[in-house]
């Protein structure tokens, strides 16, 4: 049943939800208004009754005034006046029996009537005796006074009860109104929260998703959404995720195609690179064999030494190729990024000194560790340094920055030089294997190998450059999560 309700709620469109919310709000306000209307009417009728009852009370007081007059002047007419007023009120109480009974309560009504009855009866008896000499006279007058006193006391008591009841009703009314307004206010707030805060939250989420798509982080979009509602916004979100999925697939295909392309570049590069030493060996050995008889021992030695040199050349290329194709097993260790960078700088320190170059360090405090193959990352940084040195034949500055990303998930190492920069037309090729602008002095493998190493570390390497201003290579490596570090230290 609950599940059913949930699904039903989930399947509601945003428009329906807003409709329902507005209706609920309306019903709430109507109920409260109706309640206020009826309770106001009840108060009004109570107040009317109190006014009527006050008239009766007033008459009772008149009655007692006449009673007092009788005792002062012993004028029978005064007593007759008491009877006249009293009977009028008695009749009134009897005639409107229903109303009084319901308002005062049956018991109190009968009690009031009984006291009035006794009072009037006593008054009648006194009128009938009408002689002070009667032996009952004293007794009767005493009773009359007592009953009169009772009557006024009791009716005032009843009136006060009514008054209290009205007070209570008004009070209740105020409280109900207060609670009702409170409920409306809270439901308004909840609606606000639902429609605007949660809505705008989801819209912001969509905004951030589209940003990720724009930045090419398709995978983040696909994995980052934990909950999707079935309403209009949910549909929009689904659409974006679908789009990111497709884009991710395309990108994978593109990367695959690029890999194939760079394999082609690699193969032709290898053929060219290895071609020269192979040709040399071929010529040397052929010459050696052809002229063997006429060669002196020393010359033969030189031939063989040259052959060995050329073989070494091939070996060097093959080793670099193996590095490039990542045949070597990586050995990951937890290290401080500063340590890796400093070790790399130490390796090229001499070259830096003789090239009239100054190294400047810009390092964030509190850097997280990185889990890397130290030798490999060192090789990358050394490559970048050597390229920077080559780019500044007249000397200059190298700025090394080590930073941590704001969310502390990445360590960023930047190597900036003030060298010749890279021309836009060759920029797309610098990471290609064997691409070099340095002739036989360069291998063209530095950056492509570096690229492979950084990729293997789930990192990123990118470049910013301006001709004659300088070049910055930016390495991003995943930071090792800090709480894990503690655990590993303990282990």
């Amino acid at each position: 049943m609950m599940n059913h309700l949930k699904r039903w709620k989930k399947n509601l469109s945003l428009r329906k939800k807003i409709n329902i919310a507005i209706h609920i709000e309306g019903i709430l306000i109507t109920v409260i208004s109706i309640f206020m209307f009826f309770s106001s009417r009840a108060i009004l009728s109570k107040l009317n009754f109190i006014e009527d009852f006050d008239n009766i009370n007033f008459s009772f007081l008149e009655m007692r005034k006449s009673e007092k007059n009788y005792f002062l002047y012993h004028d029978v007419n005064a007593l007759k006046e008491v009877l006249k007023i009293g009977e009028k009120e008695y009749n009134l109480l009897i005639n409107s029996k229903e109303e009084f009974m319901s308002k005062l309560g049956k018991k109190d009504y009968i009690m009031l009537l009984a006291i009035l009855d006794k009072y009037l009866n006593t008054a009648k008896k006194i009128v009938n005796i009408s002689s002070n000499a009667d032996s009952n006279y004293l007794e009767l007058t005493k009773n009359l006074r007592e009953f009169g006193h009772h009557l006024t006391q009791f009716s005032i008591f009843l009136r006060n009860i009514q008054h209290k009841k009205v007070n209570k009703l008004v009070h209740q009314n105020a409280i109900t109104l207060f609670i009702g307004l409170g409920i409306i206010l809270v439901s308004q707030l909840l609606l606000w929260q639902y429609f605007f805060i949660s809505l705008s939250k989801r819209l912001l989420k969509i905004e951030s998703l589209t940003k990720e798509v724009a930045n090419g982080n398709f995978h983040k979009v696909v994995t980052n959404v934990e909950r999707i509602d079935e309403d209009e916004i949910g549909l929009l979100m689904k659409g974006i995720i679908h789009m990111a999925n497709e884009l991710e697939k395309r990108e994978e295909q593109l990367i695959q195609a690029k890999k194939l392309a760079s394999l082609g570049v690699l193969v032709s590069g290898v053929a060219h690179e290895i071609g020269n030493p192979l040709n040399n060996i071929f010529m040397l050995t052929e010459g050696y064999l052809s002229y063997y008889d006429s060669l002196e021992d020393e010359q033969k030695k030189i031939f063989m030494r040259d052959v060995r040199e050329q073989a070494k050349r091939i070996k060097k290329i093959v080793r670099k190729l193996l590095n490039f194709s990542r045949q070597k097993k990586f050995e990951f260790n937890l290290v401080s990024p500063i340590e890796v960078v400093e070790k790399s700088i130490a390796l090229v320190n001499n070259q830096i000194k003789v090239s009239n170059i100054k190294v400047h360090r810009l390092i964030d405090s509190n850097l997280p560790f990185i889990k890397v193959d130290v030798d490999q990352i060192q090789q990358v940084i050394v490559n970048l340094f050597i390229n920077a040195i080559h780019a500044m034949p007249k000397g200059g500055d190298i700025f090394v920055e080590i930073r941590v990303s704001e969310d502390r998930t990445k360590v960023i190492i930047k190597v900036r030089d003030t060298g010749v920069g890279i021309k836009p037309e060759i920029l797309p090729h610098i990471f290609d294997p064997f691409f070099t602008t340095k002739g036989t002095k360069g291998t063209g493998l530095g950056l492509s190998v570096s690229y492979g190493i950084i990729k293997q570390h789930n990192g990123k390497i990118s470049v910013k450059t301006e001709v004659n201003k300088g070049t910055t290579f930016i390495i991003e490596l995943p930071a090792h999560l800090e709480n894990n570090l503690e655990e590993e230290k303990h282990a």
């Binding site: 053929a271 060219h272 071609g275 020269n276 192979l278 040709n279 040399n280 071929f282 010529m283 040397l284 052929e286 010459g287 052809s290 002229y291 040259d306 050329q310 002739g439 036989t440």
Partner: protein, 121 residues
């Protein structure tokens, strides 16, 4: 007077071996691993045969070919190359290249080709 040959290749061993083979045959041979210097030398001096690598830093084989054709229409050119694209081959043949030598260079073929182009020393 022996016939004069200039050999240009940025691989030192190619120069050395070619020089050895052709000197033994009786030709007078100069070698250059630096193509710009070689070009300078060609401008100063007439050679009977130019043997040059196609792909070189700075001044490449096609530049040498063009310059030689311009200065000395009778001088023959032999082109060495590891791998030639169709385009370079066509252009080289138009420029009166006498022969095309793919690497690796075979001594006997080299001797034969030189003899065919300029005759015995």
């Amino acid at each position: 007077m022996p016939k004069k040959i200039i050999v240009i290749d940025d691989e030192e061993i190619v120069c050395r071996m070619t020089k050895m083979v052709l000197t033994k045959e009786g030709y007078e041979v100069e070698t250059f691993t630096h193509s710009r210097k070689a070009l300078q030398r060609i401008k100063e001096n007439k050679f009977d045969l130019v043997i040059t690598d196609l792909k070189m830093e700075d001044v490449d084989g096609m530049d040498i070919l063009r310059e030689t054709n311009k200065l000395y229409p009778n001088t023959k050119v032999i082109m060495i190359t590891a791998y030639a694209t169709l385009d370079t081959a066509i252009e080289a043949l138009r420029g009166h290249v006498f022969d095309f030598f793919p690497k690796p260079i075979k001594i006997e073929e080299l001797k034969k080709s030189v003899k065919e182009s300029i005759g015995t020393p």
